[in-house]
Symmetry: C2
Subunit: 223 residues, 2 copies
Amino acid sequence: MSSERVEVKEKVLSANDQVAAENRALLAAHGIYSVNMISSPGSGKTTLLERTVDLLKPSLRLGVVAGDVQTRNDAERLERHGIPVEAIETGGGCHLDARQVARTLALLDLPSTDLLFIENVGNLVCPSSFDLGESEKIVLMSVTEGEDKPLKYPAAFRRARICVITKVDLVPHLDFSTERAVDNARSVNPDLRFFFTSSYSGEGLEEWGGWLGERVEEYRRGR
Amino acid sequence: MSSERVEVKEKVLSANDQVAAENRALLAAHGIYSVNMISSPGSGKTTLLERTVDLLKPSLRLGVVAGDVQTRNDAERLERHGIPVEAIETGGGCHLDARQVARTLALLDLPSTDLLFIENVGNLVCPSSFDLGESEKIVLMSVTEGEDKPLKYPAAFRRARICVITKVDLVPHLDFSTERAVDNARSVNPDLRFFFTSSYSGEGLEEWGGWLGERVEEYRRGR
């Protein structure tokens, strides 16, 4: 990358960080625990969110910000589960940025929210560079993508604390070793915690949902 | 996006276009047909390339430029098939650009190449904006990614003339309608031509390889 491009990128990122800090303060003021979900297109973010919302909505007040390059399809799917959803259509943009999220937070009923899901644009590269003000970045990878993804796209795995491995019901039909995938991800980020889920069979969803519930509690106590 | 950022983006793209035109002229001077392969991470680009190389190397002189954010893994996998491969490690960059490809073309034996595969970074958004000087953009999507991808990431499907649907052996285990995927892709780009492949079962590979061989011939006659 030329030095001119690096400079522009640094300016954009530092402006973004400032707005992200404001988002973080606003969310903290309302005691809202928030997760920024990052993955490739088609790794199952929206379907996992649908299942998670059904699981948690009896006990927690949920909200979703759904980012997409084009269409409001994901937002519409999630709205059907009876929770507040705001869509961000980036119009070609390859990631969500803090300003887009700031404008969207203004549309949500923050005093009535415990847990906010931010579903980023499907892209395993760019979204990891942009802090949105979230409590936690969560990286997802489906078993169909192959075990090498953490090595080839390390930034997202390095900046997340949680890795959700999705579509585990398909493992019997694939040449995929969960152990190798975990080893690869840990070689990039030794502190990663894993959940192994299938939105189709339901495997692992109770554990994942339970962990989110605990994090909401911990976040409340910690502030 | 702010007008300042749009302006920067336009400047970067127009500088890229100039180098892409030089790459295109260089490839044409050597009669090399070249394809720029764009997809999500984990859609099976490298495995399809391995199978395609084995199929075509008895009759065509092949070369590969393999782009990755990090690691030379894909390049090493392809080198084992006994053809010239050059790796581009973008070091965090989310797409290949024309300048990177220009530097790499200088390392290849162009007079001894008929068909050049350029494997882009796994990213369904950013690579579609950057012309590399290729003859053809090819978009891949695996059946595990879901039928809605062309609607949600339209740019890559609009700028390609060919769509390779991969991993079709997994369809029986998925809730995936090939017909709906094709309809969605055609709603974005009515001129798209499709190949349906499985690198695992071998389905569709002869047809895809045959088409590439024909295109190399047509390209030679046309210049």
